[in-house]
Symmetry: D2
Subunit: 313 residues, 4 copies
């Protein structure tokens, strides 16, 4: 039954699985690895799974653009949760292998820039070849095709390997953001530390369009946390923008900004309002003066009085 | 009874009286000249007159700032009509006077720059002295104190003078805008060619405040027709702005812009929505895409569907 | 000889004369009252005076718009100094007059709103009539035409009157700004607390023009201190803007903003860069990051390196 | 010798090679395929190649983010040319294979979404597995591991395969943009149809920073053609932006915008000014009024006159 099943970007042993296992609701579900982000999401669209966990930002799995493009196109889906996972690699080898014995290494292509400095320092002569995923790289080491693979430490057991070195990451603070995606439904109630995701299509050949889009948010005091351009598929120079904004669609300032976008842009797709991972309500940036729900309501009341001839002040 | 009485900036024979007489509703009222704009408006506030006609823009009567300051302060009033009057002066003299016989001329101080070039060309040696109003200047000619006065041609008869020269105006297209002001009530319905007037107070010492104010209008596609800074009386550097915007408070784009101002500014005073003088509905500048009432309604509907989990597109 | 002569808005005994006498350079000049702002400035244009002091902002003399319009039109002039003068009125009477004996009062029309509340409280039944200037009002009291005049206390002696009440001003902090105007020449060197004045003409019927004008300043971090719209004389709806900006034309950020205006506006007239009155260098608002001369120079150097193929970072 | 050698993103038979062969200057060089974008660019940095051709936008090779990140980090490089290549896939098979006989297909992961609809229509039951590149997929078909591979038709001969179906592309107008990258040097002269690329780092946690960045371009009338956010590696929420702007660094409007960015952003990297591919000079969007070099020069001259006291108009 679909309600008991969550899909995720597989194979088993990827960072996505590790992220999914941090969610309490995952404990009681059947977790099904899928070969790709589209496959994981199509299972949700088809009603074969209740939700899918997929990477969406700064991922080492290469999932970002695939996820954004999938959410932007096809039958609508909605984001209900986000998960942040610190990313550190382990160098997985067959038992007995030493650093000196490593001539070839593999891993997902996106992992390579994240371990490049480490490789230069510790394995300057090893040859790198890419694998389809970090977990797939581990499998290829198991099969003897490569001497070592970069993957999550948690993947070692699955493939009968051992972590020779752990906590490898060139950049401090490397982390990946994952989203739990389901079919459209009413968003959960605002928590006070929320995020709203939308995809916005620009009109053709309008050089100031992005500036106008940003002003719809800025004039209502809505801060943006992410703006990511994506090709629309209609040729070079045609973009849509995936935007994450602070706040919840139920917040008046966010709702008014979304309506503004809806009016000036050819197409806007609402991807959900959901709690921000890792941010407590008290750590949210204070609202700009004049943008709270109370101030929106007061201004509506004032407008009604003006229209009614009861001018105050 | 107040409902039968309209006040106006007097004395009799001013351009304001001429403007008032162009209004059909003036035909059945008692028209009472007042010594000043504040006096004309205070009669309305006190219930002694139903409305007052006063100059508000580019006037030759010097009324602009007095009118703006009166509308901005004190008990609220509202604008219901505007009247545009082309301004051309006549040189009024006692019967028998010739150009060669004119040694002294008078008129309202604001008239002087409007006839300066004409004076230089035709009466280079005449001495100018200011009068309290153009009509008062005519009276002083009648009394023999000056040889000639600049005033409206219509003032000649009142003071027993004759127009020696007419249609004098240095600038082409000189005209004055007058407004009919009453106590606050529900504005008349939109005509499709409307104007909305507000006075907006800036926060103290916020250099970008005016830019933000303009953006509240711009982001909703509301064009401004006039913006006039006025001191608030709290010392040099403290301003409020009188703004005329295209559209009616009942237009969604105008209403949302006004609410935006209300939220970010310490004080906003609504001065009315009323038909534009001299502009037919078909001559109004087309709305920017995305700012019609229909588009506002469609965006509201879309937002409601999103909040309800019925994401389309 | 013109170099020894300063004109000012007369007559003797006005606030303008009081402001002029605060300037050290006035001590050694012949100070000549003129009947109007245009007359005072035309004397400078004609080479008959080295400079003229005229009110420019929030004046009780009614000089503001006359001054702005004169500076905007005709042969160019330039502002070299500004003077701020606190404004308080005295009620001048013939010796022996008491409050109870005052039936008629006079003063400049612009003085009236500034003493209105005082009049209502202390002389509710007195009749107000306007005079051509405050000093002229004093003269009319001397001649017996009115019982009392509002004017500067310093005007009492000139007209053989005595100040019955002093320090009258409805608004706290009432003050007038005067400017010393001469023929165009190289501005004095920056002091670190400077102001730049320009008049900017808008293109016809371009609703967003004012927003663009403000953005030319904002994008370079130049704060505006005053923006005043003035009709251009080409009919209702045609404006130019008189703008005072923080900083000196020799400051790179100000120079770049002025050039930006010059490119997008049909006409820009530079009215001068001069020291701010009443503001010490240490009290000037700090510059926005990235707008100092040093940062402008560093950016120019960087651009030259880029154009030269010496890309750093 | 390095001057005779161009590297490119290999292996042989990729779209990148096809793009490189469209450049006249490639005809006389040794063309060397490299295993990755970093490898191709590092060869240039090391002086082992004169230039490298790599995909930068909307690529089917997955090169975009790798290229952007490489250009943004490490030793500076500069873009000298761009190449646009229409992208259409061929389905390559071993001679004799028919559609009915295809059970497994491969290709680069980025190719998959571009042929997804075609697959659904024509090979609904075939199993997709990803390869490291399209060319590598072809090699795996040659080796018998898969039945068919999506790749450029030109890759067939290299791997002894034949194109069973050609011109496969779900989206109309699919194309990839490639750039020819070398060590920093003086950019080639403006052609009138140029493009300027920069990478801009945002200050931390400044929600309006992107809006300000766009305004630096907008206020000078510089149109943007691409804006792409990239993580800086300092954790979720830290971005830099790769921007392509219309015009050449030698154009005054572009130079001033770049200096503006340099002043307000922590870091700006100039990536080059180069001719736009596929756009003739006469097809370039007309400049906004006030942004031509002639207008910049006229404004500079005017400013100099103002500073010199020679105020005109």
């Amino acid at each position: 039954m679909s309600a008991t099943r969550f899909t995720y970007l597989g194979p088993e042993g990827t960072f996505t699985e590790a992220a999914l296992r941090t969610l309490p609701e995952a404990a009681t579900r059947e977790l099904v690895p899928m070969v790709s982000v589209p496959a994981a999401l199509d299972a949700v669209r088809a009603g074969e799974a209740a939700a899918a966990l997929v990477p969406i930002e700064n991922s080492v799995e290469g999932g970002v653009t695939a996820t954004l493009d999938e959410l932007a196109a096809g039958e609508p889906l909605m984001i209900y949760r986000e998960v942040l996972l610190p990313i550190a690699f382990a160098l997985l080898v067959r038992p007995g292998t030493t650093l000196a014995g490593i001539k070839t290494v593999t891993g997902h292509p996106v992992a390579q820039p994240q371990v490049r400095n480490w490789l230069r320092a510790h394995l300057p002569d090893a040859l790198w070849e890419s694998a389809a995923s970090n977990a797939d790289g581990a499998r290829l080491v198991q099969e003897g095709r490569y001497d070592a693979a970069f993957a999550g430490e948690f993947a070692a057991a699955t493939y009968g390997l051992e972590p020779l070195v752990t906590e490898i990451h060139d950049a401090e603070n490397a982390e990946t953001r994952f989203v739990l995606v389901g079919r459209p439904a009413r968003p959960s109630a605002p928590t006070g530390a929320d995020k709203t995701s939308v995809v916005i299509w620009m009109g053709e050949d309008h050089p100031g369009a992005l500036l106008e889009l940003l002003q719809e948010f800025a004039v209502r005091g809505v801060n943006l946390m992410l703006i990511q351009s994506r090709p629309t598929g209609a040729g070079i120079g045609n973009y849509c923008f995936a935007v994450d904004a602070e706040g919840h669609i139920a917040d008046r300032r966010v709702g008014e900004a979304l309506m503004g976008l809806k009016r000036i842009c050819p197409k806007v797709r609402f991807l959900g309002s959901y709690p921000r991972a890792g941010v407590a309500r008290q750590d949210v940036r204070p609202l700009r003066a004049g943008t709270s729900d109370a101030e929106f309501t007061a201004a509506s009341d004032w407008l009604a009085r003006c229209q009614d001839g009861r001018t105050d002040i």
